[in-house]
């Protein structure tokens, strides 16, 4: 029995369809991320799980129980909002206990819950303060405490870190991950930030325009994207896409590339069986920046590593890496070099391409060619 099942869920506002046939199974204790650009319907889906928004078609079940017609309070969920949504007239203690008090919990239950929550989130010293006396990070922690207090079977997070500054966001990310490891409650977490998605999730659901584009572990989604959108959305700096012609050489199918110095041929990885059907036509080659580097990380042991000189157009040192841009088939391609490599713009440099991870997309359907 799954912790959360979403079956053929559709959401319409009048004529506009916001969500088209969403299906998702979330296992007990799983940390699932809904990620996508704004307007993709991820927050709407979360609100529908919470019961704050109605379901036009399909059904949502929490813990095996269909909740379509249950009000939010009977769904055994708790939610953390982007704006924290603390009750400004109540102090932290009252904020945390509000849900229990409304549900007529005994004093004993409330004391226990408060002690547990305050200890988990280390905020015993904040209990008597009003939300206005707290910093952004503390407010977000209180909002999480409020969710924890009722010990629900499902946590919903709606972009909880978007209002925090960059440094605090990283700290809170760690804290949320730790929290999940401690309480092991199922979490559905909405974000537009692909780094949050990658670092936090057991599984990532990538959404666009009301559709689920891909579901998988962070590594699956990163290494094995189903379509052009997922490949481009996940990863920073983002994957390079180069339009190129499909050719056969020495019995291998592959793509023809050209930089300022001349033409060369990259064979496709052997498991890509679909490429020959595109022979004579064009495909989009996808290659991530870290798959083009300056030193062979395998010491010559990787048969798919290919040394290829290329002309460096732009150099961008970032600290941990040096990013350089080269031109392939007229498109800028980002390569991630070691920080010690500081080529001059305009110079030609030997780069190592990892051809085992090349991916190809159909330029029309934008689907992956496997």
């Amino acid at each position: 029995m799954g912790a959360l099942s979403i079956r053929n869920v559709v959401k319409r506002y009048g004529e506009t369809t916001i969500l088209k046939q969403i299906n998702l199974e979330v296992r007990e204790g799983e940390f699932v991320i809904l990620v996508g650009p704004s307007g993709c319907g991820k927050s709407t889906l979360l609100n529908m799980i919470a019961g704050l928004d109605s379901i036009s078609e399909g059904e949502i079940a929490i813990g095996g129980r269909v909740v379509n017609d249950l009000p939010p309070k009977d769904r055994d969920i708790a939610m953390v909002f982007q704006s924290y949504a603390l009750y400004p007239t109540m102090n932290v203690r009252e904020n945390i206990l509000f849900g229990l008090r409304i549900r007529k919990a005994t004093q004993r239950q409330m004391d226990d819950a408060l002690a547990r929550v305050a200890k988990t989130l280390q905020m015993e010293h904040l209990l008597d303060r009003k939300p206005s006396q707290l910093s952004g990070g503390q407010r977000q922690r209180v909002a999480m405490g409020r969710a924890l207090a009722r010990d629900p079977s499902l946590f919903l997070f709606d972009e909880p870190l978007s209002n925090l500054d960059a440094k605090l966001r990283v700290d809170m990310r760690t804290e949320i991950k730790l929290l999940h490891e401690r309480v092991k409650t199922t979490i559905v977490y909405v974000t537009h930030d692909q780094i949050e998605a990658m670092t936090l999730g057991d599984r990532i659901v990538v959404m666009k325009e009301g559709e689920v584009r891909q579901v998988g572990t962070p590594q699956e989604v990163y290494d094995d994207p189903d379509d052009l959108f997922v490949a481009g959305f996940i990863g920073s700096p983002s994957m390079n896409f180069v339009r190129c012609a499909v050719e056969f050489r020495d019995g291998h199918s592959g793509v023809k590339l050209r930089d300022g110095n001349g033409e060369f041929f990259f064979p496709a990885p052997p498991e890509v069986a679909g490429l020959p059907t595109h022979a004579g036509g064009e495909v989009l080659l996808g290659i991530r920046p870290e798959q083009i580097t300056d030193k062979d990380p395998w010491g010559g042991q990787n048969p798919h590593a290919r040394l290829q000189p290329a002309k460096i157009e732009v150099v961008q040192p970032t600290g941990p890496d040096t990013l350089v841009l080269i031109h392939l088939n007229g498109t800028s391609v980002t390569c991630r070099l070691h920080p010690s490599a500081m080529p001059r713009a305009g110079a030609t440099m030997n780069l190592v391409f990892d051809l085992s991870k090349l991916v190809f997309f159909d330029p029309k359907s934008e689907k992956r060619i496997r």
Partner: protein, 293 residues
Amino acid sequence: MVDHVRAESAGTRVAWRVIVYGLLILVAMYYLVPLFVMLTTSVKTLDEIRTGNLISLPTQVTFDAWAKAWGSACTGADCGGLKGNFWNSMRFVLPAVAISTLIGAFNGYVLTQWRFRGSDMLFTILLVGCFIPFQVVLLPMAQTLGWLGLANTTAGLVFVHVVYGLAFTTLFFRNFYVSVPEEMVKAARIDGAGFFTIFWRIILPLSPPIIVVCVIWQFTQIWNDFLFGVVFSSGERQPITVALNNLVNTSTGVKEYNVDMAAAIIAALPTLFVYVVAGKYFVRGLTAGSVKG
């Protein structure tokens, strides 16, 4: 060189201050003169008023006029002063203010946090209510009160003022609650609070600034109302504004200016009291909520 410039600009600043404060004091005095005349006249004897000058200070302070205005001044055949009418006014103003404020708060809550199809339209229609002059509603209101069996009663007067005030109170609260984040209400719903619990436990505790604004506005409006009072009440149930008018316009006997002035001040005291007690919240509340925070 630099110091010289700075000294000069400081001098100009002082000069400007003097001009600004001088003007302010002048304007304040202009507005305070009528109050000064009323106060001094009310503590003078009739003889002194007749012989003396309008803005001269009283030679001898007496509160006889106040006592008379409160307890024994005659309006027509009735010689009980304004005392009875003062309490009449209190009896309908307090419930009318309380009820209209509460309903306004409730309306504002529904119109902002529980929007429904047509809620914005409803609000627009309610707003039109703010622009309806008193005179327009007199006849239909008299008719309605007759049907309801409330004609000529305190409850009827309360009803009239609540209905007329709703447009304003709803406007106040609606504009205040628009800035309350919807997520807070969502959080409360998930916490298990229902429609009324959210109103009582979350929304109303946020509202003191706008309640103050609403109470001042409504109290002043209803206490100072003359037209509804004179039309929808009669005899010993008349509010103080109507009684004051009758007192001042009584044409028999000598015109007792000191009593008239004392009576007028008595009639104005409650609104003055409300302003002094709650005034500092007034401006704060009017501007709060206008900026999304």
